[in-house]
Assembly symmetry: C2
């Protein structure tokens, strides 16, 4: 396992690639974000996006999946929050996404000596290396021993 | 339709209630956040949560659904970002969630006279009126005419 002590500021991880389908956009949109530009192909053409786009929350959820994969075996106990999330560009059917995650801060927990708090900056880019989403997360990581 | 001009700082909307099932937590977890405390009931008992909890991204996605319902007919063009998201408490199987959304800022778009930018603070509370999630969103809203 990779514990709090094994994590250094400046560590970078690169994820696998995630390919997004039209059906998956519509399925997520109907369940969690039922706005026409996520659920209705014809209506989406008349939107500012000019076609279907993933819900921003689906984009974030896909990043979470990529991050769990790329940070396998890290002793994460819980996520605490997210700051400065920006949807920079639409994530469209047929696009892919890769996540770059960099540790930007770490400190021992104030309240629990068994934990540390780690801050990570994430950037998701599409197949053209264009920035689609960026944000910072704060998570509790178990300390060794 | 409710346009930018129809929105005032201080406007508050209250959503319907969303009931969360165990199966839904596991389904979302397996797809987007495959950590044991979201996908494996037995392993979750040994986690800091002491049982299955929803992925924080699922909690946020459920809030999005509640917000789309409670702000029906608003001329939202796109979400821009999220700030200060905090997962305050676990969201567990059998819990419900209600969202309170308050407009905290609005301004015309710098780049497009057809739009305004609206900032909203959201708070999701469970059936015991305990805060589960809070965050602020920034969205582009169409101007009238």
């Amino acid at each position: 396992m990779r514990f709090y002590e094994d994590i250094s500021v400046g560590d970078v991880r690169h994820s696998d690639e995630y390919h997004l389908s039209k059906d998956e956009i519509i399925e997520f949109g109907e369940k969690y974000d039922p706005q026409p530009f996520h659920t209705d192909e014809a209506a989406a053409e008349d939107s500012v996006f000019g076609g279907l786009v993933a819900s921003g929350w689906q984009t974030a959820a896909i990043c979470m999946r990529l991050h769990v994969q790329s940070s396998e075996n890290t002793a994460t106990q819980a996520g605490l929050g997210v700051d400065d999330l920006r949807w920079e560009r639409p994530f469209r059917p047929g696009d892919s996404l890769r996540l770059r995650s960099e540790i930007v801060d770490k400190r021992p927990s104030d309240s629990d000596p068994g934990r540390g708090v780690v801050r990570t900056r994430h950037e998701g880019r599409n197949q053209h290396d264009e920035l689609v989403i960026s944000y910072e997360t704060t998570a509790m990581i178990q300390r060794r021993g």
